[in-house]
Amino acid sequence: MVARYFKWALEDIRSNRFIHAVTLITIALTVMIVSAALLLFINAGDWMSAWQQGTRIMAYLRPESGAAAAALQQSIESIPGVQRAVFIPRDEALRDLKSRIEHPASLFENLMENPLPDAFEIQLRPSDQSWEQFEAVAARVRSLAEVEDVEYGRQWVLAVRRVAQFFQTTGLALMGLLLVAAVAIVANTTRLVLYSRREEVEIMRLVGATERFIKAPFYLGGMLQGLVAAALGLGILFAVFSALATRIEQSGLAGVITLRFLSLEQMAAIAVASMLVGWLGCYVSLKQVLKS
């Protein structure tokens, strides 16, 4: 029975080549755009993680608190998520500052005393380096009596998170719109095929065919289209990605920007989603056209 459904589905596709080709290309483009967005999210996520891993929390101490540095270090390192805390005495901080400024003499010659506070540079465990964890640890450190201020690039973090969230929201909305459009296009194709086969469907009903028997080839055709479109869309995306990765490698940015393609599981999920789009398109049109 399944072989017959396959045969009829393929016959349908063959006898309505043009319209099925248009649908196939539309789904493939949708798959490509959605997958490209996903690829961007994944790689942007990787870059954000890499950036986060380089981020430290700086805890600036109140004057005269430097004496209790050893005890304070223990307190900080006992906070969950903290890997280590390194004490930076104010004199060392000043020396470091001077070494980093090209012409320090003019800037520091009138300085009567060291304005920098003692500080701790706090590093989080790699597994706990989410922005939420940064905020939680910073809040715990700030609550310590000896700590006057905490700095971890909060403004930057918030700005980046806002931008990321904006892209995520608009990206998801765009993906949703594209998927709805793809479903509508498959539904229209199926509707056209159904109209051209209306008499055949009627005859099948009259000789005792069940609705399932009539509809199965359409569903199969829709899913088949979704699968082929997914392969096509992902194939084109991979070709573009490979070309881009080669260029980045040649430009010497390979050490700075690392790129990775979608995993097998992600590609399988996209193929299933694409088949679902084909199925859903058929479902919509079959429900409309074959209700009588």
């Binding site: 029975m1 008499e199 000789v207 069940t210 609705e211």
Partner: protein, 238 residues
């Protein structure tokens, strides 16, 4: 149980009315057709013969009245049960209704596939029925390549291939020459002899009298008479 020699009725109509919009097509029809009976529905064009057959294969619904086919009431039959009913009823349409894009073999096999027959059994059965109607040599041809008579024979093959209890034929000889018409009628008579109930809508009186059987006369949507014709001994008015 009703009718001749206690044979049960397989088709039963009681006060059936049907209309297409404001046009009344059938009015207060009541009759029974017995199991393994050969019945003709006669009447001029527009008498309601085709509409009556449509009601019998549930291609249309009566506006009023009751229709029972092999014990199934059509006015209350759920949509999901229609395929089961239609497998009991083989229909030969006036315009053949063969699927143009499918071969003769596929058109006939469709009935068995739809009924869920095992794949291995289908070719044997289809070829034997095609041989019976003399169309085996055209199994791979598309219906459009066939003459009217040949298409009608394929339609007969499709109607009988599933061994239905009832065969409904709407003007099966309407578009055929005399020889083809006789061949199709012989096939229908053979199905009747094998035990099917055969109902034929026709206005070809000569053909009906050659075959014999029960005749229901329809005029302007009303049953105006019923008679039994014995092809050897003449007619009996019922």
């Amino acid at each position: 149980m009703t009718g001749r020699e206690g044979t049960p009725a397989i088709i039963r109509l009681s006060h059936v009315h049907h209309a297409y919009g404001p046009y009344q097509t059938l009015t207060d029809l009541s009759f029974e057709i017995l199991k393994n009976e050969l019945a003709f529905i006669c009447g001029p064009s527009g008498a309601g013969k085709t509409t009556l057959l449509r009601l019998l294969y549930a291609g249309a619904r009566a506006a009023k009245g009751e229709i029972s086919i092999d014990g199934t009431r059509l006015e209350t039959i759920p949509r999901a049960q229609l395929p089961n009913l239609r497998r009991k009823v083989g229909v030969i349409f006036q315009d053949y209704k063969l699927i143009p894009g499918r071969s003769v073999y596929e058109n006939v096999a469709l009935v068995l596939e739809a009924a869920g027959h095992r794949r291995a059994q289908i070719p044997k059965r289809v070829h034997s029925v095609l041989a019976m109607v003399g169309m085996e040599h055209c199994a791979g041809a598309l219906p459009i390549r066939l003459s009217g008579g040949e298409q009608q024979r394929v339609a007969v093959a499709r109607a009988v291939v599933g061994d239905p209890k009832i065969i409904l034929a709407d003007e099966p000889t309407g578009n055929l020459d005399e020889a083809s018409a006789q061949a199709v009628m012989d096939l229908l008579q053979a199905a009747y002899i094998r035990g099917a109930t055969v109902v034929i809508a026709s206005h070809d009186k000569a053909l009906i009298h050659r075959m014999g059987g029960r005749i229901l006369h329809l005029q302007q949507g009303r049953l105006v008479g019923s008679e039994r014709v014995d092809k050897y001994h003449g007619r009996t008015v019922l």
